[in-house]
């Protein structure tokens, strides 16, 4: 126990004498010892109450000082955390400018209006374009984390056609789907009631995370089904794949920030470990539910629900 205590203090990067968890234990020990000491002294020197009162005041003073240090360190940790979030936000915005320049310049060259490209040039520019897209997505994910941590994410609540949104995401992911020779199907089982209330850009991000994860973790010639169906006053959006699945010991951590499955390493895919964390926050804030069922080597079913729009 004491060993893990020291380790924790080392991780916080504060000296032992300012480390809240360590000081808390010290305070507890002082408390207990002093209560016993006072008890014995009071028993022996019953005719000198001043002594007992003096000791009690002294002990209280020591505890007060220790508490003061603890509170100070907590404040410092909270401030550091706030600065980290702000730093993340500033850096991310700074990086977006050159990334946008790259994107547009590549667009311009690939448009071939400045001159025809040979196949090799085209191929390399396409690679540059897709790495640029990934960079932008990563920076956007970091920006979302900083917005979540500073409570600055704002949500629109408008009717959205979930089927159309699914089709848009699938069409964006087409190159990856074709590269992995995956069969992907959208099944609309809503009888036309496919409108939900929410924020289109943010729901699209969630759908993108689900679908691109399914593609990443499904082997060649795999199958992915995107299913829309009614569930009471809610619409359920599921992405079911027959991919590698999630090991059961990792299931509790799936929606945690920066969590990356051991599968990431095994299948050498990219991922920041932010997608599902951000997704859960978005769906929670829009009044829906998010979850998954998964079996290793069989596949996964990631789903979310959102309130159906009353037309």
């Amino acid at each position: 126990m004491s060993l893990s205590l020291f380790k924790q203090c080392k991780q916080y990067n504060v000296p032992l004498l300012q480390c809240p968890s360590f000081l808390f234990v010290v305070m507890g020990l002082i408390n207990i010892t002093s209560i016993f000491t006072v008890f014995f002294i009071a028993q022996r020197y019953t005719e000198e109450p001043e002594l007992v009162v003096g000791i009690v005041i002294g002990v209280s003073l020591v505890i007060f000082i220790i508490s003061y240090v603890i509170v100070g360190t907590f404040t410092q940790l909270a401030e550091t955390n706030r600065m980290k979030t702000e730093f993340l936000n500033i850096v991310s915005h700074q990086i977006l400018t050159p990334l946008t320049s790259e994107k547009w310049l590549v667009n311009l060259l690939l448009g071939q209006k400045l001159g025809a490209l040979n196949n090799e040039q085209k191929e390399y520019l396409e690679l540059l374009k897709s790495s640029n897209t990934k960079s932008v997505q990563l920076v956007n994910a970091l920006l979302n984390v900083s917005r979540i941590e500073s409570n600055k994410m704002v949500f629109e609540k408008k009717p959205i056609d979930l089927k159309q949104l699914a089709q848009e995401v699938v069409s964006d992911e087409k190159p990856a789907i074709e590269a992995s020779k995956i069969f992907l199907q959208i099944l609309d089982q809503t009888n036309g009631k496919n409108q939900v209330i929410g924020d289109a850009m943010k729901i699209k991000l969630v759908a993108q995370n689900f679908i691109s994860n399914a593609i990443k973790y499904t082997k060649e010639n795999g199958q992915i089904m995107v299913i829309l169906k009614g569930d009471g006053g809610f619409l359920k959006f599921s992405v079911i794949d027959n991919g590698v699945g999630i090991p059961s010991e990792e299931k509790p951590f799936i929606f945690q920030k920066f969590f990356r499955s051991s599968n990431v390493m095994r299948f050498q895919t990219l991922g920041s470990g932010l997608g599902l964390y951000v997704s859960k926050y978005i769906i929670d804030m829009l009044g829906g539910k998010i979850g998954f069922e998964s079996e290793e080597n069989k596949g996964s079913d990631f789903w979310f629900t959102l309130p159906i729009a009353k037309l």
Partner: protein, 121 residues
Amino acid sequence: MAKILFIEDEEALQKSLAKALEMEGFNVIGAYDGQAGIDAAIKEKPDLILLDLILPKIDGFEVLKRLKSSPETKDIRIIILTNLEQTQSVEKIIEYGPLNYLVKANYNLDEIVAKIREVLK
């Protein structure tokens, strides 16, 4: 042919979007800071202004305020083209009514051009 004023301090963005628009037949004027943007808006009377928000000399919020409060420029259509998420700037620009707002890192050039055509229609 429609005249477009692009107020943006990043050279690569100026050049790439201007090129793309010129090839579509638009007449593009570039301004690299807020003051130059306001001057060009008054002098050139463009049909559309593309406005970044983080700019040298006078920032985009102030440019927007001045354009909207001057009778000469208040009717010019504006597209905000920035990397600031709308949620961060919405309080400062909401008084100018509904504006077209694009986060530029999320759009390809052809999507921006399509949006410009739509607004000019």
